[in-house]
Amino acid sequence: MTPDQAAFLAKKKEKAAIRRAKPEDKGELGLTSLMDIVSIIVVYLLKSYASDPVIISPTAGQKIPLSTADSSMQEGIPIFVTQRGITFGDKKVVAMTAEGDIEDSAVTNHLIGPLYDAMAEEVDKAKTLGENIGKPWEGRAILVGDQDLKFSVLVDVMYTAGRAEFSQYSFCIIRKG
């Protein structure tokens, strides 16, 4: 090994030692672009946020009727009536027959017994709450029906709601077009 070569190798070793001694740079993620995307998504979702006083989440398999009506939803208590059953307050209160009629044992002269009991209980709660907060109870029932729901079932539900002191009714629909 010539002295030049030895000097070269020594210099190389020295450089390598300096390199090794240097602290490693911390890797940083560029979050700014991700933040931009997420912010846009959040703003979009906030704009699409349901601003209606009542959020209607149809039950499985329910086809809400379509309509050209555009009146916004008013505050009320929803009653979900499908071909499978009647749901009130997240609880299925009445089951339907295979033909889409209310079971005979549940109806007496248009009055749907289990639904009436559930509604009367809810009305009592709503009235008490209304008295406590100083806001009179409006008594509006929102009927969330199904496209194939029979008129006879609809009338029975309306009659039962009337007996349970609901005086205003709305049919929930999906805006067409």
Binding site: M35, Y49, S67, Q147, Y169, S170, I174
Partner: protein, 190 residues
């Protein structure tokens, strides 16, 4: 003069907590998102209902009420005004055999919601409205098996399919293309 060069420290904002909140907000907002635009049709209860009705201010009735009634039957619409069905045989108030507006699709199943002639019904509503401009109430009844979608389309036709009542809720007047927009649902027809 020796000038001390001072390197400015780059301040990097810690975005991770903000990102955490944002990522939690996304599913929360998705859950509350309105996928389909919902609206409502206000209806009056069936007449046989026994609940207390809302007190209404007494209105001065200048003209004879129209008492428009539409019965949705399996074979078409029966339209009657002031107790007289249109198209009924002479001397009869109602004729169960002949509908006022027959089906648009004769023989179509009940689940075919386009079986009714909504355009003809809307034209009829327009005709009555021109005769009774202050009337807005219509009583609708149907046979037991009539599906809700057919009832809703009938209400749309009687209201006027171009009628936008959303403006009324904002305090504007009722548009001219709105005919009978206060439906009363009555049970027991057919």
């Amino acid at each position: 003069m020796a000038r001390k060069k001072r390197e400015e420290d780059e301040i990097v904002a810690n975005l991770l907590p903000v990102m955490n909140i944002m990522f939690l907000l996304i599913p929360a907002l998705l859950m509350a998102m309105e996928f389909a635009s919902m609206a409502s049709i206000n209806v009056s209860p069936p007449k046989f209902s026994s609940q207390p009705s809302e007190p209404k201010p007494e209105e001065e009735k200048k003209e004879k009420p129209l008492n428009l009634k539409v019965f949705i039957m399996e074979d078409g619409y029966r339209v009657s005004a002031d107790g007289q069905q249109e198209g009924a045989d002479a001397g009869k108030a109602a004729d169960s055999k002949a509908p006022t507006i027959p089906l648009a699709k004769s023989g179509a199943p009940l689940t075919d919601y386009d079986r009714y002639d909504y355009a003809a019904l809307e034209a009829k509503a327009k005709e009555y409205k021109s005769l009774f401009p202050s009337e807005q109430i219509v009583t609708i009844s149907a046979e037991a098996k009539i599906p809700m979608q057919a009832l809703i389309y009938t209400m749309d036709a009687l209201t006027g399919r171009t009628c936008k009542l959303g403006k009324v809720q904002k305090g504007e007047g009722v548009p001219e293309d709105c005919y009978f927009w206060q439906p009363v649902v009555e049970g027991g027809a057919g």
